[in-house]
């Protein structure tokens, strides 16, 4: 197992390096600069600013400097926001994204997995149709529809919850619910599929023939295998929730990473884009590794290789 993990980590590092290089040169090749604005800047002033941030150097030299700094964990200052380093920005917004992501995942799993299990066990009854139709709607309904709808109902009509901001637990509910509901739908469908596959196995028929109780079959024999698809999905889901929550962050004014990612790209804030890309890439690499380990632990047919 150690060998497996070490190998995968090495692979991950190579992937990260490649991503860093590709991102750097794509950003460098993109038209527009972090310093351009609607009001023209005199060339001599622009030169001063560019020199301050090292933009006056040739692109390859900039790449080497930036890579060297990144390897030391230093991504440089934001080229747009005064007195902030990329590390500051990540340190401020990553915990927020992590909290929102974890809550959403909790919502998604507590709603989605039981619904999927029930739907599989009670196949072709209303306990299957209703949750699965709801899940289909949940998958199809984008967060930018769901979010404002929830804000309208719980914030403006019922006046129960704050509609925007991130000042305390009551502020977490609507964004986490919006993001969680979409993923709950995925979890429900995946769990239902996994459970159905298990319930159709030959050994389930054998167990039933031997008179094993239905609950024992479900809980002891099928659940572990039935959850496999959901477990596989958890890694990408968490990475996706953390990095891809831009829409939800915008609707509910959540100070997370997603807003910075989009803003960084729009502002051409090169250092920020690089820092965040590396962060997301790391997140995905690590998540996938964890998922692989968990999968082997759950599924005796798989081996580390």
């Amino acid at each position: 197992m150690l060998k497996f993990v070490a190998g995968r980590l090495l692979q991950g590092i190579l992937v990260l390096l490649a991503i860093y290089a590709v991102t750097f040169f794509l950003v460098a090749a993109t038209p527009g600069s972090p310093f351009s604005s609607e009001r023209a800047i005199r060339p001599e002033i622009l030169a001063q600013i560019e020199a301050f941030y090292g933009y006056d150097k040739p692109v390859f030299e900039r790449f080497m400097t930036s890579l060297g700094n990144a390897l030391n964990g230093e991504f440089g200052p934001s080229a747009v926001y005064a007195n902030r380093t990329v590390t500051d920005i990540i340190a401020e917004s990553f915990p927020v994204s992590l909290k929102l992501g974890a809550l959403s995942l909790l919502v998604a799993m507590t709603l989605g997995i039981p619904a999927g299990i029930v739907a599989a066990v009670k196949r072709n009854t209303w306990l299957d149709y209703v949750p699965m139709s709801a899940a289909m709607v949940g998958i199809c309904l984008p967060t930018f529809v769901m979010g404002p709808m929830l804000a309208l109902v719980f914030g403006i009509i019922l006046k129960m919850l704050p509609v925007a901001g991130w000042f305390g637990p009551e502020f977490w509910i609507l964004p986490a619910a919006t993001l969680g509901l979409v993923y709950a739908a995925y979890f429900a469908r995946l769990t239902r599929g996994g459970m159905l596959e298990m319930l159709n196995q030959d050994w389930v028929r054998t167990a039933r023939a031997k008179g094993v109780k239905e609950t024992t079959i479900i809980w002891r024999h099928c659940l572990k295998g039935g959850l496999m698809p959901a477990v596989t999905f958890m890694g990408p889901a968490l990475a996706g929730i953390i990095s891809g929550s831009f829409v939800v962050e915008t609707i509910f004014q959540v100070p997370g990473l997603g807003q910075w990612f989009v803003r960084g790209a729009l502002n051409r804030d090169d250092f920020l884009i690089l820092g965040l890309t590396v962060l997301f890439a790391t997140l995905i690499v690590v998540m996938n590794l964890i998922v692989d380990i968990v999968q082997v632990a759950l599924n005796p047919r798989l081996k580390y290789e």
Binding site: P31, G32, S33, S36, S37, E38, R39, A40, I41, R42, E44, I45, L46, Q48, I49, F52, P77, V80, Y81, A82, N83, I89, E92, S93, W126, V130, P148, A151, L152, F154, G155, I156, K159, M160, L161, P162, V163, A164, G165, W166, F167, P169, E170, I173, T250, I251, F252, Q253, P255, Q259, L266, N267, R268
Partner: protein, 544 residues
């Protein structure tokens, strides 16, 4: 059986959800009413400020916050944009031709760190913004001061060549490059604001762009409020500054600035009682809000011009008759009424209306017959043979709607086909400045209340011209206006220049801006301002 089971199940679910929600929420009174009773203004500020250093920022949200923290020589008047109110200067005078100004600073002017505000602080601050090393984008605002341009261009490193002289602790003498009667108005712009020399020196020095003096921990101001907290992307809170000279007349106890970028979110926040003021209103919502809450929807004139730049270096737009034909062949009144909907004024000239003492031009009127005739004279009768051209817009739904209306009206009136394409903001800026476009959507907001802030940009070689257009006669008039002996003469000369612009039409005027936002009726003393400079110290709450 089926139904009842289902009902039980849904009731159970509802009970759980609602129960936990009720337990989680804090109940009753609206946030905005609580804040109003505490004298705290909840302000929707558009976006996270890029910084709070008045010499390095350029944006409107930054201006909103900085102007609560720092006060210049001249303060904002509570009701009239053009009247100078005493700020750090308690009195001022100029010589007869408005070239030498003397400011007497008040004795009780103090910084929030206890330092007195001295004339030398202004000299230090203006030297700082003009130092080339700092790379300040707004430094050219100070070119009205004698020698400032040469110093900023690096021609000399001796700041004593610049017309700023601290005669003693409380007397500042400023010598200008030419007669500038509106100098007092320019002083309200944050590029002229002072910074505290001790704070700047202790945090990296005069020319450090990443100087830490303007962070939450180190901020030193001299305005009616001081910085209390700064939570990125959430809120910036300022509170009453006890060292402010006029503290007893400051009515609010504090302001919370919320950086809400999404217009719909802002509106939801306002409606659920979490804001007193929004920064915008989504255009689609204006008609329904006019109906439902007319006392909360504010529509005010705003000193800005919306227009299309025309690339005069590209055929067919190198032909002035084509430009004229386009400029008169769309119905602006219809456009502002049906498309923009925010009470904007159809632009009959380039410089917006509402500048006192300046005659608004009425030259460019809707006249489709004239348009047809001009286009025929240019060789494209009924649009036949008119090459394929396109309008460049930066990506935005509202710009697209306007462009589509223009496209349809030009098609109807002139028979020409004009395409539309959008580019993301920074790419659009690149295309515009490198003249890689046919027609380009543009807007300009005045830095101070004067026609020159709109007209100087179209002189030959100006970095904001971006049309390829150049006229020696126009340049001469702008130069003449800068040296004009009286304000009447200056306005007259600038008007002549504008008429040249409107005859040649490197720009197609479309509308003059308004500012549309929502305001809580309890908020008083919030008078319309054409530059959106708000004198916070005169604002207060009063229950209706």
């Amino acid at each position: 059986m089926f139904i009842s089971q289902f009902q039980k199940f849904t009731r159970f679910l509802l009970a759980i959800t609602l129960g936990s929600l009720v337990a989680a929420c804090s109940g009753g009174e609206r946030e905005s009413d609580i804040a109003a009773s505490e004298g705290i203004l909840l302000f929707g500020n558009g976006s996270e400020p890029k910084g709070l250093d008045p010499h390095l920022v350029t944006g409107v949200p930054e201006n909103h916050i900085i102007s609560s923290l720092i006060e210049g020589l001249i303060a904002y008047h509570p009701t009239d944009d053009l009247v100078p109110a005493p700020g750090m200067a308690e009195s001022w005078e100029s010589n007869d031709d408005y070239t030498v100004w003397t400011f007497k600073l008040r004795d009780d002017a103090a910084w929030s760190n206890g330092d007195p505000v001295l004339a030398s602080d202004f000299a230090y601050s203006w030297e700082r913004i003009l130092t080339p090393m700092l790379g300040s984008e707004y430094a050219p605002m100070l070119y009205v001061i004698k020698g400032a341009q040469a110093f900023h261009a690096g021609e000399t490193e001796d700041f004593s060549t610049v017309g700023v002289n601290a005669i003693d602790d409380k007397t500042l003498e400023v010598t200008l490059a030419g007669p500038t009667p509106y100098f007092l108005n320019m002083l309200k712009h944050y590029s002229f604001f002072p910074v505290n020399p001790r704070a700047v020196e202790e945090n990296g020095g005069m020319t450090d762009r990443q100087s830490g003096w303007s962070t939450l921990e180190n901020y030193v101001g001299n305005g009616p409020f001081k910085l209390k907290s700064w939570v990125t992307n959430q809120v910036i809170e300022v509170e009453r500054n006890p060292t402010y000279w006029d503290a007893e007349n400051v009515k609010l106890n504090g302001i919370r600035f919320f950086p809400v970028e999404n217009g719909a979110t802002e509106e939801t926040m306002f409606r659920s009682g979490r804001l007193h003021i929004t920064s915008i209103v989504p255009p689609d919502k204006i008609p329904s809000l006019k109906e439902s809450v007319p006392d909360q929807l504010m529509i005010e004139p705003y000193l800005g011009s919306y227009f299309y730049r025309v690339n005069v270096t590209r055929p067919p737009f190198d032909n002035v008759k084509v430009r004229q034909a386009l400029a008169v062949s769309f119905d602006k009144e219809l456009l502002v009424e049906k498309v923009t909907k925010g009470g904007q004024n159809a632009a009959t000239g380039y410089v917006p209306n509402g500048i006192p003492g300046y005659a608004t031009s009425t030259t460019v009127q809707y006249d489709p017959e004239l348009g047809k005739k001009l286009l025929a004279e240019a060789g494209y009768a009924d649009g036949v043979g008119f090459p394929k051209t396109e309008i460049l817009i930066n990506t935005s739904e509202s710009h697209r709607k306007i462009a589509e209306a223009m496209q349809a009206m030009w098609k109807d009136n002139l028979g020409i086909d004009v395409g539309i394409y959008n580019q993301e903001w920074k790419v659009y800026l690149d295309s515009q400045s490198s003249l890689d476009y046919d027609l380009s959507r543009s807007g300009w907001i005045g830095d101070y209340v004067h026609a020159s802030t709109f007209l100087e940009m179209f002189t030959t070689g100006n970095g904001n011209n971006d049309t390829g257009w150049s006229s020696a006669q126009y340049d001469a008039l702008i130069a003449k206006a800068q040296l004009a002996g009286s304000e009447e003469e200056r306005s007259q000369v600038l008007s002549e220049a504008e008429e040249i612009l409107l005859a040649e039409l490197p720009v197609i005027p479309i509308y003059w801006y308004t500012r549309v936002y929502m305001k809580d009726p309890q908020l008083k003393g919030w008078e319309p301002k054409v530059l959106d400079n708000r004198p916070y110290k005169h604002v207060y709450f009063e229950a209706n």
